[in-house]
């Protein structure tokens, strides 16, 4: 198949007629008549660039159409004639946008694949520690969910649904051509980024082969701009506040009333009770605070035709709403690019350091401060009269003590450097050699100090606190060599590039935990050395892992008459993670696009209003290798110990046939631009099927294992994506535009292990025909007013019963949001600009585990949800809360909630000083701005924050930051 197509292309290429041609000259200028240097002028036979004065000379037949392109301008066409003058129209959202795929770049116009480009400008200044969160709602098909309000916490990104069940669903992140780790962005400075290119379909991701199945996010960093040096300084400052919690807990009166009504378990006397009622502590006030954000960004950019440079430095300092939690980041970057002769050499170097203070999150551990703050009784005082932490009657740990008397830090040092060289062969025009080598070095240091007075410290070995320090190092290098050839003959543009790539990553880790922190030191000096007579025996651990990937691949492009486009790529990957039998795999794609708006039969009648109309289709296969550590195919023996002797323990079962997950995607798309691109949009349909899914095949437990990993099963993600940008008003002084996008992704399991139609795991079921992460719980049917029993629906959904039986479990929707997107509006009046952006998620269900703990009457010793004040007490009482001695079962629909939300994600107001006022002060530009983040959220979910990737709010949630900042940007 592939071969036939290749031959076909070459045949076309060879049959081009050479026509009589002259050298015709002309000039390219902008609408104000300024010459445009470096614009590309293309005739049927050759392409040339304009000189410093905008002049050019091109071989062409008089009367043929010439195509002129220039970055930032809309494509211009002109009939070839001597002395022609081309005026190009500027367009901020230009059709000549370039899509960077990491290996190649091509004009969006010619792209056959499904990609979205987000300019870094769009998220500039957003006061978030991890930039991925700011991408929420910005691109169709891309679901971004923040997991935490902890400064610097990464979001989870899923592109076009989850395509793996037990393998990774993280997209591949590429910066300047090399892979960087996903979910690891606190040390990166988004102000260094030029744009994000999100690759979604097979045509654009197949070139990443075995790493492409979850989509690819290609990030390019800023390059110097030709011209005088420009120094830019950005400063912003602001504060974050706690959002409201829809899950209300009892106040002192409610809680004491409840306790008395349920047997007074603490045996309060009337006097004690009266005293306690006076206390009423709001633990949120004690625990949370206002966070502060401060950011300084300095950059220097400039260059000449030979060398360009971009140098930046940044400081980002954010404190969270939970006391003590913060992020401090320091970054520096130097990007250099120089051209000499036929060579172009570029170096991009970056170093970033982040320091995060955080707290325990995402668990139901009683020692987690974020749990204790919900669970503590309101009649407890936070401090004793002499200022010490009070002792909590129920035995719960003190949230503030657990927070302030422990340290939980993660420090990261990250260095990313790439060097690339390009050589344009002078002996054959269009032949280019390129090499790109780079490394991502990440050093993570974790530090946990637990004071001996805290609960966490008291449960450590030896019960006298602990101190843990760990160092993890990751070095991943990527080297890519390529030879490319591009040529144009008449109506035919043809390009081919072949690549070879090597990627290797080495991870080493070391950690120790010391015990017996009996001195006031909060570092290694506090550790009591372990002896045979004390129990402070420290633990140490370490590991080293190497993985490799070797690839050969090729990319072919063909364009005919600048309106028919074909792209094909193939890739062969070898991975060290699989056994000899299944080490290598092939991937590839083919795609085509048709620019209908260029056809005469369309443009003849639509010249005035249709700027772009493109149809595109692609099909291809990509893979996923991200499963179970470095050696998922090998039966392993792990170290073990018994009574001081060493041992070898069988820990994994092998499957030498384990191999790649494969995902084939079909994509159809339409792109359009109307009325001088005042209305622009895209619509895409995709159907992606993952086969050879990594799945745990259940085996008889008598083997000592419950399952092992195989490649069985299939899953489909099918959906539509649409995006629309409308400039409602576009005048000189006033611009009003609106934009929006929506994705509807339908996930469906097609085949499971051993022909099974369903597979239950915990509260979830995998069922053929149903989406992944479908809840499988017993449905509740209210409370019997006569008895106060919780009523359940039997499996048929018709009968109610007061007996809980797992046999009555039914499917109750999925935790993965099928519908999501964002919408916004931008106003620009003279120098004032206002951007408002909302993001939304719809159609997902969330299991509220916080509620399960707060509505369980067995936990009456601690604080409970206010809903329990309506507990059933007397026959005939109509309520949703059963009687307290009714057997409590958590795995029911009672705790399933609608996870949909709409969030006012970002509001940005700015004022740019007119340059005329600044000229005297020798300032190039001056801008004032205010940014609001997460100002408002509308949801039915009862809790801090509905934004959850896992579907279950286990507990200890760090609410999202609601941040308002103000800043200034000066250019010199």
């Amino acid at each position: 198949m592939m071969k036939i197509r290749l031959l076909l292309l070459f045949t076309l290429f060879n049959t081009v007629n050479i026509m009589a041609q002259n050298s015709l000259s002309g000039k390219v200028q902008d609408k104000d008549g300024n010459p445009l240097a470096g614009a590309t002028v293309k005739s049927k036979t050759e392409a040339t660039k304009t000189n410093e004065t905008g002049g050019f000379s091109v071989k062409a037949t008089a009367g043929e159409t010439l195509y002129i392109t220039y970055v930032g301008m809309t494509l211009a066409t002109i009939e070839a004639a001597e002395g022609m003058v081309v005026s190009m129209v500027s367009n901020a959202k230009s059709e000549t946008e370039v899509i960077v795929t990491g290996y190649t770049s091509q004009s969006k116009r010619r792209s056959v694949g499904s990609t979205t480009t987000i300019k870094a400008e769009e998220i500039k200044g957003v006061p978030i520690g991890s930039f991925d969160q700011a991408l929420q709602g910005k691109a169709p098909g891309v679901l971004v969910q923040a997991q935490s309000g902890q400064p610097g916490a990464a979001a989870r990104i899923n592109i076009r649904g989850k395509s793996s069940i037990i393998g990774s669903n993280d997209p591949l992140f590429i910066v300047d051509g090399i892979q960087i780790s996903a979910n690891d962005f606190a040390s990166l400075n988004p102000n260094d980024f030029e744009n994000f290119n999100i690759l979604k379909d097979a045509s654009s991701t197949a070139i990443y082969g075995s790493r492409g199945s979850n989509g690819v996010v290609v990030i390019t960093t800023k390059r110097g701009k030709i011209g005088k040096p420009t120094l830019t300084y950005d400063f912003q400052i602001g504060q974050s506040t706690l959002p409201s919690n829809k899950l209300k807990v009892m106040d002192a009166n409610q809680k004491l009333d409840y306790e008395i009504a349920n047997g007074n378990p603490y045996g309060w006397t009337a006097t004690e009770e009266a005293d306690l009622r006076k206390i009423n502590t709001n633990w949120n006030d004690v625990f949370f605070r206002k966070g502060k954000t401060q950011s300084h960004q300095l950059s220097l950019s400039g260059g000449n035709s030979g060398t360009r440079y971009f140098i930046s430095g940044g400081i980002f300092d954010q404190t969270g709403t939970v006391q003590k939690s913060d992020l401090k980041r320091y970054t520096g970057r130097v990007n250099l690019e120089t051209t000499f002769g036929d060579f172009k050499v570029g170096v991009n170097t970056f170093v970033g350091s982040s320091k995060i203070n955080n707290t325990l999150e995402g668990n139901a551990f009683i020692g987690s401060p974020l749990n204790a703050v919900l669970w503590l009784n309101p009649y407890e005082k936070p401090f004793t009269d002499d200022g010490k932490y009070s002792s909590i009657v129920s035995g719960q740990p003190h949230p503030l003590q657990e927070l302030l008397e422990t340290d939980n830090q993660s420090n990261q040092l990250k260095g990313i450097a790439t060097i690339n060289a390009e050589y344009k062969a002078p002996f054959l025009k269009g032949l280019t050699f390129r090499t790109n080598w780079g490394g991502d070095y990440t050093q993570d240091e974790a530090f946990i100090y637990l004071d001996r007075q805290t609960y966490q410290g008291s449960i450590a070995t030896g019960a006298r606190g602990s101190l843990n320090r760990g160092l993890g190092k990751l070095f991943r290098y990527t080297g890519t060599n390529s030879i490319g050839y591009n040529t144009s003959k008449g109506d035919h543009d043809f390009g081919v590039t072949i690549f070879n790539e090597i990627l290797q990553e080495t991870r080493t880790a070391f950690s120790f935990t010391g015990f017996g922190i009996v001195t006031p030191f909060r570092n290694e000096s506090g550790i009591t050395p372990g002896t045979s007579t004390n129990s402070f025996i420290p633990t140490v651990a370490g590991s080293r892992n190497v993985r490799g990937l070797v690839s050969y691949f090729a990319d072919f492009n063909y364009a005919y008459k600048n309106k028919y486009f074909v792209t094909t790529n193939i890739r062969r990957d070898g991975s060290s993670r699989f056994g000899e039998n299944k080490r290598w795999a092939n991937f590839g794609s083919v795609g085509a696009a048709w620019l209908l708006s260029e056809e005469n039969f369309i443009s003849n009648f639509s010249e005035n209003w249709l700027d772009l109309f493109k149809l595109k289709v692609s099909y291809g296969a990509v893979g996923n290798q991200a499963i179970g550590g470095s050696f998922p195919a090998i039966s392993q023996l792990s170290p073990a110990r018994y009574a001081g002797q060493g041992g070898l323990l069988s820990t994994t079962l092998s499957n030498p046939d384990l191999q790649w997950e494969k995902k084939t995607t079909t994509n159809f798309g339409v792109e359009f631009g109307l009325f001088k691109n005042r209305i622009k949009g895209s619509f895409e349909y995709y159907n992606a099927i993952t086969s050879a899914l990594f799945l745990d095949k259940s085996i008889s437990g008598t083997s000592g294992f419950s399952s092992f990993t195989t490649n069985v099963g299939r899953m489909r993600n099918r959906g539509i994506e649409a995006g629309l940008d409308i400039d409602v008003i576009r005048s000189k002084d006033f611009v009003w535009s609106i934009n929006g996008q929506i994705t509807n992704n339908k996930n469906s399991l097609l085949e499971l292990v051993d022909g099974k139609t369903e597979d239950i795991s915990g509260d979830f079921i995998r069922k053929v025909g149903e989406p992944l992460n479908t809840y499988f719980l017993v449905k509740t049917a209210g409370v019997d007013p006569a008895t106060g029993d919780q009523l359940y629906l039997t499996k048929d959904g018709k009968t109610t019963t007061n007996v809980y039986s797992p046999d009555d479990r039914v499917t109750l929707g999925t935790s993965d949001a099928p519908i999501f997107g964002g919408f916004g509006t931008d106003f620009k009046f003279k120098a004032i600009e206002l951007n408002i952006f909302f993001s939304y998620i719809s159609g997902n269900e969330v299991f509220n585990n916080d509620r399960q703990n707060l509505e369980n009457p067995a936990y009456l010793f601690d604080n409970l949800s206010t809903d329990l004040t309506t507990e059933w007490r007397t026959p005939g009482q109509v309520t949703n809360i059963p009687r307290p001695d009714n057997a409590f079962f958590g795995s029911t629909s009672r705790f399933i909630e609608d996870g949909s939300f709409i969030r006012l994600r970002n509001v940005n107001l700015s004022y740019t000083m007119p340059t005329s006022l600044l000229a005297n002060a020798k300032i190039k530009s001056l801008k004032f701005f205010m940014i609001g983040q997460n100002l408002f959220t509308s949801t039915k979910y009862l809790g801090w924050d509905p934004e959850l990737n896992s579907g279950s709010s286990v507990g200890a949630r760090y609410p999202a930051l609601r941040t308002i900042t103000a800043g200034i940007s000066i250019g010199l």
Partner: protein
């Protein structure tokens, strides 16, 4: 032009060099683990495999705590020896209140933990099928080969017996009720084995065969630190097995060997047993050290000062004032994490080694006093000439080593003896993983009143279970039935 050529060729060279290194990039070896098929070419590896088998006893679903602790604390939590308190986080209520079903995770996890030990024991016996066989080292190292093989066989038998204790309907030696799949092979790649339950009789047959083989192989082996199963331990396991199976003669025979080999601890050394300060009275203990979990925090979590299960009043009342055991096994400790609350009686039997109170302490799986109780019970049940007196003597010996100024019991009838032995088992073996099975094999009745309804008890503590309850035999995990067609019709009745 020449320059270009040089550049061009150097470029091609770079490309080729990188291609050459490809093979190296792909050939990565495990560094922190071994490929199982690269090993078992030395006797050392068999010894390592055996050591790891012992390590698996510390799993949180076997002797370890933090999950079910199925063979350490759980049998007491499920019985009338303890009652769940209001401090409990309720993680094991489904087991302690007998409301389990075939999909109860705690049961599935226990099943897996036990078979993980069996599988590792079989790896110790069979190797990986590719390297040298264990037997092949016998020519030069007969003694070590025998020791490895004997211990692995004894472990395999004992763990199967433990499973039988939970999952079998009854313990009769020749019972045709469903037994437990007896695994003698290990599968390291794409496991497909689907065993069947067989009968209780068949399970006993296999257990007996393995234990008797182990007895021969270990006849000269004494574990001085008591951390390994030696000749005395195999005798003790046999005695317990025969008592359950109702073979009184053999129970007496093997218990007697164990008692002779490992004399009972006196009243003065008795408290030291629980601090790991003496090996007296200990026949086999599973070693626990810092960082390896602990065997009893589910009852009383010392570091967190959380008493989830306390001793039942009916048991407290069974101790006479001079009995050293009540205050060795329990203590009055103030509540609150800073010990500022009210005094309450907590289980401190497994408080820690020496002066430590961190629950890190060896799990005494087999003790001499149990052997006395086995022998007493077997005599009492056999009830031949002089047997009742012998039974009484055994009880009196045990009690005189636990109660100061003890006045021996005299003239008990068989029924009185049986009752006295049952009570003595509660007093002596409290929180050692016996009570649930003892009730199961005798009265099959539990009454937790009045403690179950006390204000300090956890809400919803179940009070009673009657002899006909399905709960006396655990259900075979649903996950097992789902994948194993050979066990599809072999679920226990009522599930």
């Amino acid at each position: 032009m020449k320059n270009y050529k040089i550049l061009f060729f150097s470029f091609i060279t770079i490309l080729s060099v990188s291609l050459e290194s490809c093979k190296k990039v792909l050939d990565q070896k495990t560094e922190n683990t071994f490929d199982v098929f690269d090993r078992f070419n030395s006797l050392d590896d068999y010894q390592f495999a055996l050591n790891a088998t012992y390590g698996l006893f510390r799993q949180a679903n076997y002797f370890g705590n933090g999950s079910t602790g199925a063979f350490s604390t759980l049998p007491d939590m499920m019985s009338d020896n303890t009652v769940e308190t209001s401090s409990s986080l309720g993680n094991y209520v489904d087991l302690a209140n007998w409301v389990y079903a075939s999909n109860t995770d705690n049961i599935q996890n226990t099943w897996l933990a036990a078979y993980a030990i069996i599988s590792q024991a079989n790896l110790t016996l069979n190797g990986n099928g590719k390297g040298a066989a264990l037997e092949s080292f016998a020519t030069n190292n007969q003694a070590q080969v025998d020791r490895i093989k004997g211990q692995a066989l004894a472990i395999r038998a004992m763990v199967h017996f433990d499973l039988l204790r939970y999952f079998a309907l009854n313990y009769d030696r020749n019972s045709n009720a469903f037994g437990i799949p007896y695994l003698k092979k290990v599968e390291l790649t794409n496991p497909k084995n689907l065993p069947t339950r067989g009968t209780v009789k068949e399970t006993y047959d296999n257990i007996e065969t393995d234990l008797l083989a182990a007895l021969t192989l270990l006849s000269a082996y004494n574990s001085t630190n008591r951390y390994n199963i030696d000749v005395a331990a195999v005798n003790a396991i046999l005695a317990r097995m025969y008592l359950y199976a109702g073979d009184n003669n053999k129970a007496i025979q093997y218990a007697s060997v164990a008692i002779t080999a490992r004399p009972i601890a006196s009243i003065s050394t008795f408290p030291s047993i629980w601090k790991d300060e003496t090996k007296e009275d200990v026949i086999w203990a599973c070693s626990f050290n810092a960082g390896e979990g602990d065997p009893a925090a589910n009852l009383y979590f010392a570091n967190g000062n959380r008493s989830s299960y306390r001793m039942h009043t009916s048991l407290i009342n069974l101790y006479v004032p001079n009995d050293i055991r009540l205050n060795t096994y329990t203590a009055l400790v103030r509540s609150q994490s800073d010990f500022s609350g009210a005094l309450r009686r907590v289980v401190t039997k497994h408080w820690g080694k020496g002066i430590f109170k961190d629950n890190i302490v060896d799990w005494k799986a087999y003790r001499t006093s149990e052997q006395y109780l086995i022998r007493a019970e077997a005599y009492a049940k056999r009830n031949g000439a002089g047997d009742l007196l012998l039974a009484l003597n055994n009880i009196n010996t045990l009690k005189s080593n636990r109660i100061s100024s003890y006045i021996p019991l005299v003239g008990l009838t068989q029924a009185q003896l049986i009752s006295e032995i049952a009570n003595e088992r509660r007093r002596e073996l409290f929180a050692e993983g016996h009570r649930w099975f003892d009730i199961k094999r005798t009265t099959r009745t539990i009454d937790r009143n009045p403690d179950c309804t006390a204000a300090s008890a956890a809400p919803g503590v179940a009070c009673n279970i009657d002899p006909t309850s399905r709960s006396w035999a655990w259900p075979i995990p649903q996950a097992e039935i789902d994948v194993n067609v050979n066990m599809a019709g072999q679920q226990n009745p009522g599930y």
